[in-house]
Each structure stands twice: as structure tokens, then as C-alpha cells.
Symmetry: C2
Subunit: 340 residues, 2 copies
């Protein structure tokens, strides 16, 4: 029995080897990044993957350490003219005030309810944060995700008239898949809310909840009526932006990423932390310089500073000095969206 088994096993292996080699000869080498134009940005990605995954490379990275982090707003999807989560929170204000009528007379809710667009445009960051927190607070973690999913299924972007979840960058989806196909675990590290992004990250990016780090509200555990429950509290717990990004990465992952992708000053520290490690590291910044296909904004694009997704000249200079690659949407992306 043993010996017969070994013979058939050897035969199986031999035939499998022949079949595999035939397949390799037949299959054309598919471009893993078809939405990218040839150029330094595409080259940087392909070369990084090659040298960190080729076992013969001196810069080989063991699979367990293959971590890549991605900012979301402006890096994986559109952030202009307003962060999707802020649009969501503003859309929720009426429901929030219905649940807590006292808020109707309080700022910034009063201004939002007035519908006065000029006054709304003047709301500061603290006001926006209050609105965002209120859009989530009091809901269980499951109920909040359901609310986000329902909103994402109906809300439409003012310029593109499509759901926000369709306004993801096709070239970046390809990078996510390409990295994963090469043993990288892809994480979202966003200044947006962790629970907000988790609601759609798996469906939209193929990124599971345990690979999403974001800004955190305080969460309370309680057992109302015998049911264990996690509820969002109206208090900010951790801001996963700027200096917070390396801290959030360390909390969630406990490893320094090999690659990081961002698009604004909020990602500066994540890129510094990532590329400050030994061996091959990849730092990339998306530059929004394509007013026709998407948006153009910020000093690094030769345009006035934008309130959202600021990419200042000093960050651009730091990128050049540190060997980070700036991705020009206009020049490096063959197409921006899958629906084009």
C-alpha cells in the first residue's frame, strides 16, 4: 500500500509540474496596474514589490512583516468638496435633533438646521467635530454601521452624482489588490471615524474591520435588559490624524509599515514613521492636480490652500528630500474611476 501510494504520488507531482509549466508558458503576464500610466510612480510600486518579495533580494521582507497603510480621504476616494463623513453627519442632523430635541437650539446644530449655506460654510473644525460626534453618539456600534450603510446606498456626490462608494480611485484599488496578491496586508489609517469606515471598507476596498484604524469616539459597555451592548458616547477618545497616525498604527498593528500612502499634511507623520524604518520602504502621496477628471487643489498643485486635504509646499519639499513618490493624478493615472 505504502509503496503503491508513493508511486501515484510521484506521478501526481510529475504531472502537476508539467501542467503548471504548460500553464506558465500559455498565460500572458497581466499588468497588475492597468489604470496606471508608465512612469516613476508606477515603477516605484512595482520595484518596491519586487525587491521586498523576491527571496533572493537583499531587501526581502518576510510575509508576516508585509504591512501597507492607506489614508482614505483623498487617497482612496474623493474628499472634495467635503469629507464624505461630514456630508453624512450633516445629513444626519435632522434625525439627531429628533432624538435629542434640546440640540435644536444649540450651535452648531441651529446653523445646520437653518439651511443657511453661508453660515454653514463658516463652521469651524470644533463645530464639525461636534456634528460628527453627534451623528454617531447614542447608537450601538451595530446600529451606527447600519445607518452608515443606508446613507452610503442613497447619498450622491454633488459633482459626480454617484454614490460616494463609487468615487474610489481605480488605480488605488489596483494597488491594494496587487499588494495583497504579494502577501501584503493592507490597512486603512484614516482621520475619519473607525466605525464609519468599517461600515463599507470590506465591500468597497476588500479591507476587513480588523484592518481599519481611525478616529475613535469613546465607547461604553453596558448590559441593558440583559443584552451586552457597546454604545458610542458623545466624547472624542482618540484623533487618528497627523501625530496620531503613527500612534494609531502602533496600537492596531504593532509593526512599522513597509509602505504608506497618503495625500495631505495629515499623512506626513505616517509617511515619516513608515519610511524611517530600515530596509526597503515606500512612501507615496497623491497630488490632486486634475480639475477635469477629479479636483485640483492645494499649494503643491500650484493652487490656493484648501481647507480639506491640505498638501502644502513644505510637505512636497519633504517628499522630494526623503524620496517619497508624488503621484500626479493628471499624469500617472490612465483613469481615475472604475466607471469612466
Amino acid at each position: 500500500m505504502r509503496s503503491g501510494l508513493n508511486v501515484s504520488r510521484r506521478l501526481v507531482l510529475a504531472l502537476a509540474a508539467i501542467a503548471l509549466s504548460a500553464c506558465a508558458q500559455l498565460a500572458p503576464v497581466a499588468d497588475p496596474l492597468p489604470s496606471w500610466n508608465d512612469g516613476p510612480a508606477k515603477d516605484a510600486i512595482v520595484e518596491f514589490v519586487r525587491k521586498t518579495t523576491d527571496a533572493a533580494s537583499p531587501q526581502f521582507v518576510p510575509p508576516a512583516q508585509r504591512v501597507a497603510t492607506f489614508d482614505q480621504d483623498g487617497t482612496l476616494w474623493v474628499e472634495q468638496p467635503m469629507y464624505a463623513q461630514v456630508v453624512f453627519a450633516l445629513d444626519r442632523v435632522k434625525d439627531v435633533v429628533k432624538a435629542q430635541p434640546a440640540l435644536a437650539g444649540e450651535e452648531p446644530f441651529k446653523t445646520v438646521l437653518s439651511g443657511d449655506r453661508t453660515a454653514m460654510a463658516k463652521l469651524g473644525e470644533a463645530d464639525i467635530m461636534k456634528i460628527v460626534a453627534a451623528s454617531q453618539a447614542g447608537l450601538t456600534i451595530e446600529a451606527f454601521q447600519d445607518v452608515v450603510k443606508a446613507w452610503a446606498a442613497t447619498a450622491k456626490h454633488p459633482k459626480f452624482q454617484r454614490p460616494y462608494t463609487e468615487l474610489v480611485y481605480a488605480p488605488m484599488l489596483e494597488v491594494l489588490k496587487y499588494l495583497r496578491a504579494n502577501g501584503y496586508r493592507t490597512y486603512i489609517v484614516t482621520g475619519g471615524g473607525q466605525e464609519f469606515v468599517r461600515a463599507f471598507a470590506e465591500a468597497v476596498y476588500g479591507i476587513p474591520p480588523e484592518q481599519v484604524m481611525g478616529t475613535l469616539l469613546k465607547v461604553d459597555y453596558s448590559v441593558p435588559g440583559g443584552t451586552p451592548t457597546l454604545t458610542n458616547a458623545p466624547a472624542l477618545f482618540f484623533v487618528n490624524d497627523k501625530e496620531g497616525k503613527p500612534v494609531g498604527i502602533n496600537l492596531l498593528i504593532g509593526r512599522r509599515p513597509q509602505a504608506a500612502f497618503g495625500n495631505s499634511n495629515g499623512d506626513q507623520q505616517m509617511l515619516e514613521w513608515t519610511t524611517g524604518g530600515l530596509g526597503a520602504r515606500l512612501g507615496m502621496l497623491v497630488l490632486h492636480d486634475d480639475a477635469k477628471r477629479e479636483f485640483a487643489y492645494g499649494p503643491a498643485a500650484g493652487l490656493p490652500e484648501s481647507r480639506i486635504g491640505t498638501f502644502t509646499q513644505p510637505l512636497y519639499d519633504e517628499a522630494k528630500a526623503k524620496g517619497w513618490t508624488v503621484i500626479s493624478i493628471k499624469n500617472d493615472w490612465k483613469r481615475v474611476f472604475a466607471f469612466e
Copy 2:
């Protein structure tokens, strides 16, 4: 060419099927839990794995959702007579005071330096927390892990005269491996420090840093001399114990576990949250009732309440009422440690 390939492929598959079936007939079924005595605890684990991983089972759990969480102190390794991290922190006090001489005159450091064991035994939880925080604060995350590793390599447990990292429970190591072999991702969810446990979790338990949640100190990002650095600050940021455990699980994983293992009142909420989910869930509590091979302590073991690892009678009653399985070290474990 195509057709020839298809024929060899079909042949390969047919032969592979024969070979596999022959292997299945030849290989003896190895007991995945050899350190467990037959009984309800072992049965509960095996039955849980069977019904959540058999595709034909109505309680089948897709691989992505297979998450199991483990408390550390008293669940994966010995916690008596003192938490290893507290021993570590006390061992570090001299070095801490050398680095910050002002602390020498301050409590609780003064008491620890005096060597007065009676006074030390009276230190409260807040004092201990101060000592633990001081043992970590001011060090970069990498330097702290190095200090922990150096300590773990030399410190010995007073009863067993062995390194703490050898005082892990052999039966629990088997459960970790068994669950992983069945597609479960195993997480440590500890009241101890996240960075402390990460320093040895991979070597000792096969659990990578991204699967360790613990109590957090504040961490600061800075760039001294151009080097991006994460440094532990002397401030508590998040307590991953009791009500904090479900919150920490949600932060790190974003999924409700299918199984949770604990041993004390600090794990009550984690077990409630875990077993409160739909479908097959497993809740288990280790009862320390074996004074000979390990320790016996706490009301649930019919003994006085212990300051460490309290497993009160109400928790025992809740376990019985909710169908959680209590693991008796005395009766359920054939051996406690690998070195036995």
C-alpha cells in the same frame, strides 16, 4: 495544446483524489488536545470547533469571522503570587529611579526601594499602576520591548524557579494551536500592558503583535534629531480590563469573538459580549483549584478571595447560568506545564 493540458489536468485531479483518500485512511487521527483529560471541558472545545467549521453544520462560521480571544494572566500563564508585569515593574524600579532621581523620595518608589516587604505588600492598585507606568514611560516602544525581553530571559518565578515564559499552560497552548489549525485567529486580550505582552507573545504563544490588545499608556510621536520616534508617556490612556475588554476587542478587531477564554472577574464582560452573539459561541473560565501543581485561590475554588485573579462565586454562578464552561485545572488538565 489546450486539450492535451485538460486531459493531464483531469488525470492529476483524479490521481490526487486517490492519493488523498489513501492518506486519510492511513493517517491515525491525532488527539489535538493531548494535555486535556476527557470530560466536559475538552468536549466543549472539540464540539465548538466541529460545529463552527463543518460546512454542513447549521452553526458554521465563515473563516473571516473565526476570532477567539484569550485573557493572559491566569488563563494562558501563571498569575500568582504576583502578575509577571508587576514583578517586572518592581525589578525595574532601581533603573527607573536612576534615570529619574527625583522619584527616589516619592511614594510608592520610596517604599519599593526600602525593601520593606510588609510595606510593599500594602501598596494599593493606584501605587502599583504608578510603578508599572514608570517602568515603561520615557522609553521608545522598541527600547521598552528590548527591556522586557531581557527581563524575561533572566527573571525566575519564586515557586517554580523557572522563567515566566515557561509558566504557560500546556493545555491552553494546545487550544491556541487547535483553533488556529481550524482557521481561527487567536487574540490576547489582557488587562496587562499591550507593549509588555507583545514583547514575547509571538515567541511564547505564536500570537503576532497585531493580535494583542492590552492596557495602553499614552504614546507620543516626535522626531528628535530627525528620527521619527514613538515614546511611552507616563500617562494611562486605556484600561483593557472588565468593561474595557469588549471595548478593546471592538477597537482592535471590530468583530465579536466566537470564543473567549478567561479566569477572573476581569474577563466577565468579555465572556458576556462574546457569548451574547448569535450562533455557536464558546465561553470558558479557568478555575485555579490545583494547589499541588499550580495554585488554588478564590471563592469559586472554595478558597478566600485573592487580590489577584479574583473568580468570585457570582461569576461562577453566571457561568453556570449562561452555559460557560469552567475548566478545573485539577480535573481537566492532564498536565499543567510543558516541562512536567
